[in-house]
């Protein structure tokens, strides 16, 4: 569904991505892990057309994305939940969702998509006309995901959806991601929360300093000592065993 080949991206002189290759198959959940500044956001922003591709190729459903503007890429069926949620705080909850379905002219379809969202998140039902900026962090994340799903995407790209959320809410987010995949949407998940991400991933890539350090199935990476050491609190395990 999505192929990235030898992607390079720089900001001015700073090389953020130094040749990465990633593949996401239809129906999968693929995770892209890495610490702060590894280049995860840069990768997904290149996919969505928010930053320009230096060299390399990105293909989505066999269509070349290089040089395409963000709004055209979305119309191909690729929705992007940006880092930090980026809900429209001055719009109501309803309007935020409608923004996601902006190019859908079928009113009854939009209505059923809205109802689907409110059925999935009944707690939001009484907040339809509330300004989105007044929602809690968790609710804003649900709204950001719901807004993206309003376009009925084939591929959903999520940039750190669990960032800054309470542990209980983080659980909800990962459950929702699994639910989305079950309903047939492919997911590319960016996370720092490697443990939770790997548990639901079919395949994962570990990014460091703009390069892919490791890749493998979720289970493989979960058991990889290097991943454990760097991202899964392996250092603490070691400290424990030293005692």
């Amino acid at each position: 569904m999505l192929q990235i080949e030898d992607l390079h991206v720089s900001y001015g002189g700073i090389k953020a991505l130094k040749g990465i290759s990633i593949e996401v198959g239809k129906g999968e959940i693929v995770s892209l892990l890495g610490s702060n500044g590894a280049g995860k956001s840069t990768t997904v922003r290149a996919i969505s057309g928010l930053v320009s591709i230096g060299s390399g190729e990105i293909n989505f459903k066999g269509i070349r994305l290089k040089g395409m503007s963000a709004h055209k890429i979305q119309k191909l069926g690729l929705a992007h939940v940006p880092e930090g949620r980026k809900i429209f705080s001055n719009l109501t909850v309803n309007e935020n969702l409608l923004m996601g379905a902006y190019n859908n002219r079928d009113k009854s379809d939009i209505r059923s998509l809205l109802e689907l969202f409110f059925r999935r998140f009944p707690a939001m039902d009484c907040k339809r006309e509330q300004l989105a900026g007044t929602l809690s962090g968790g609710e804003q994340q649900m709204l950001a995901i719901g807004r993206a799903m309003m376009s009925k995407p084939e591929l959903l790209v999520m940039d750190e959806p669990s960032l800054g959320l309470a542990p209980l809410v983080v659980n909800d987010v990962f459950n929702i991601i699994e639910g989305i995949r079950k309903e047939g949407t492919t997911v590319l998940l960016i996370e720092q929360n490697a443990n939770a991400a790997l548990k639901i991933s079919d395949y994962a890539f570990l990014l460091e300093n703009g390069r892919i350090l490791l890749e493998g199935t979720g289970v493989e990476l979960l058991n990889d000592p290097r991943v454990r050491a760097a991202y899964l609190g392996g250092a603490e395990d070691k400290a424990d065993s030293d005692k």
Binding site: L50, H71, Q74, E95, Y102
Partner: protein, 295 residues
């Protein structure tokens, strides 16, 4: 100062205020979406005045057609200014855009000077806008009634578009986050063009009515009204459409009433607006209806 004199002056003040308000709405909408003070906006007053003037005088169009033509052409020029001057530097620092805006303003003024010449042309005000109604001691110019009515209708139309339509929703979203709007599959430049077009149409109506009130059409006629409309937009809370209209009314009233009370001050007419601006910036920079914007 008796009652009818005061009422008379208030009518004059409101009329002038409406014209400032029409222009201020365009300023405020573009600022709301792009955080750009489009200093060329005032010159659209001049553009529409010339289009209407030539439509009537040279092409002998009936005035309604000339006025509609002025609105359409001014809207197109508004879009062109954005596409030609601002879009290429959308990602540059804001100061570049500001300097560009001043450049576009000089360009339009001097282009008019070269193409048309600097001698003021007398605007052929259609008969039906002349004259006034007498109500007791009160004389209400017909034009004032038109200005008030047209402004009110346009304000309602604009507020409805912003709050009740799809493109209006996109405009509001754009004012917070252009990038995320593009992630929704929306061509942000089309929404921006629409914003410029809407603001320009209002400026065009303002321009034509301005010319009927002060019938001299010349290349620099938009400068002072433009600056005052900018003050009105700041006064009302820049980014807020209703605020811009209210700011315009306050400014128009202040200008007319202060001079009516103290005729010796008539020479300082233009200074009043800028004094108001200074006071606002010192005491309440977000204006009357403004919200606190990030950064």
């Amino acid at each position: 100062m008796d009652f009818s004199f005061a009422t008379q002056q208030i009518i004059y003040g409101l009329t002038l205020g409406c014209l400032y308000g029409l222009l201020a709405i365009g300023y405020t909408m573009v600022y709301g979406v792009l955080r750009l003070i489009n200093f060329a906006h005032g010159d659209l007053l001049m553009v529409s005045a010339y289009v209407a003037f030539f439509g009537i005088i040279i092409f002998s169009l009936p005035w309604p057609l000339a006025f509609v033509g002025a609105a359409v052409l001014t809207a197109m020029i508004g879009i062109l200014i954005d596409r030609g001057a601002y879009k290429p530097i959308r990602k540059s620092p804001r100061i570049s855009a500001l300097i560009t805006a001043i450049g576009v303003s000089f360009f339009l003024e001097n282009l008019a000077l070269v193409l048309i010449g600097g001698r003021p042309k007398s605007f052929p005000t259609p008969m039906m806008f002349n004259g006034s109604l007498t109500l007791g001691q009160l004389k209400i110019p017909v034009l004032s009634l038109w200005v008030l009515a047209v402004t009110l209708v346009l304000l309602i139309v604009v507020v409805t578009i912003i709050h009740r339509t799809r493109v209006g929703m996109a405009m509001r979203a754009l004012s917070r986050d252009i990038e995320t709007v593009s992630l929704m599959g929306i061509d942000e430049n089309r929404v921006i063009s629409f914003t410029f077009a809407l603001g320009s149409v209002l400026a065009a109506f303002g321009g034509v009515m301005w010319c009927m009130k002060y019938p001299a059409v010349e290349p620099f006629m938009g400068v002072i009204p433009g600056l005052k409309a900018f003050v009105a937009a700041v006064l009302g809370g820049i980014g807020n459409v209703t605020g811009a209209a209210i700011g315009g009314l306050i400014l128009g009233l202040a200008e007319v009433l202060i001079v009516a009370i103290e005729p010796d001050w008539s020479g300082y007419r233009d200074a009043i607006a800028f004094c108001i601006m200074i006071v606002i910036l010192l005491t309440r920079p977000t204006g009357i209806m403004g919200e606190n914007l990030p950064d």
